[in-house]
Symmetry: C2
Subunit: 164 residues, 2 copies
Amino acid sequence: MDLDQIVENAYFESVSGVRTGDTKTECRELRRYIRDAREIIIPNHSDAKVIAINEVLEEFGLSKAKHLQIHTDACDVSRMPAITKAIMALDICSCDLVIARGRLGIPGSGSMLVILDKKGRILTASLSPPHIIHGKVISEAVRCEMTNALERIGFHKSMEKDEC
Amino acid sequence: MDLDQIVENAYFESVSGVRTGDTKTECRELRRYIRDAREIIIPNHSDAKVIAINEVLEEFGLSKAKHLQIHTDACDVSRMPAITKAIMALDICSCDLVIARGRLGIPGSGSMLVILDKKGRILTASLSPPHIIHGKVISEAVRCEMTNALERIGFHKSMEKDEC
C-alpha cells in the first residue's frame, strides 16, 4: 500500500465517521516512504543546519540530504514560515523529501522542523521553544528536532536498513 | 506593543535580512495575549479533551475554555487537520483563542495541539506521536500536549496571574 492509498482509505473512514486514529499500517508505510527516499533536500541559506540534519539521517541509516541554498527570509513573512519554506523548496526542486526548519507561526512562537513528501504532504515534524528560552546552540537544537521527528513516528537508531 | 506591532516589526526585520530570531519582547507579548484571553474555545465532538485542557489552563492560572461542540471529522480530509479544525472553529465563533487538537498531517503522522489567536495566527503548538506508538490514554496525552504548548513559550505553573 502506498501513501496515496493510505490517504484515500483514511478519507473514506473520516467521511463515514468511523475513523479511530492512526494505524500501524499507516505508520509503517510512512516510515517506508522515508526509508526509500533517495533525493532529500534541505532549503536553507547557511549550512549549519544541513550538517546537523545529515548527522541524524546517517545515525538512522537514511539517505543523506542535499543543501538547497536559497534565501528563505521571505518565508518569515507568512503565517507558517517553516511549512512555507518547505513548500517553496518543493516548488523549486523535485525530490522525494523536503526537510525544512523555520518559525512555527507568529514571531515568538519558536521553531518547527517539518518533513514533507514529494507532493507536499506533512509526514512528521518536531517543535522547539524559542532560542531565548531553550538556550541551545543551533546545531544541537536541530539535532534534537530531527531525532524527535523520526522517533515520534516509530524510527529508532538500531533499526535494520530494510526494516520499517 | 500588541501582536500586530510584533508581527509588523518582525516583517520589516525579515525583508531587510536582519532578523536573528524570536525576542524576549515577542515571547512576553505572546504570553500576555494568552494571559488576557477571556473567550477561549475548543472545537471537538466529545468533551474528554476539553476537560483535560481546562485542567491545564487552571493550573497555569488562565481562563477556562468553552466547548464548541461540532463534528470535526471533515477536517481530517485536509492536509493539516489540526490547523484546519482550529480555523474552522474560528470561522464559526468569535473568540480570543482557539485550542484545537487533531492530526498533524498525513494519516500516521500523529497529533498536534495548536493555539490560534482571534485572527487565526499560530501562537504555539505541541506534537504527540501516533497513539499506537505512545500508548497513553487520550486525556493524559492531551494534558501533556497542552502543558508543553504553554511551557515552550515560557509559561510556568508558579507564575503570578499578572506576570508574563
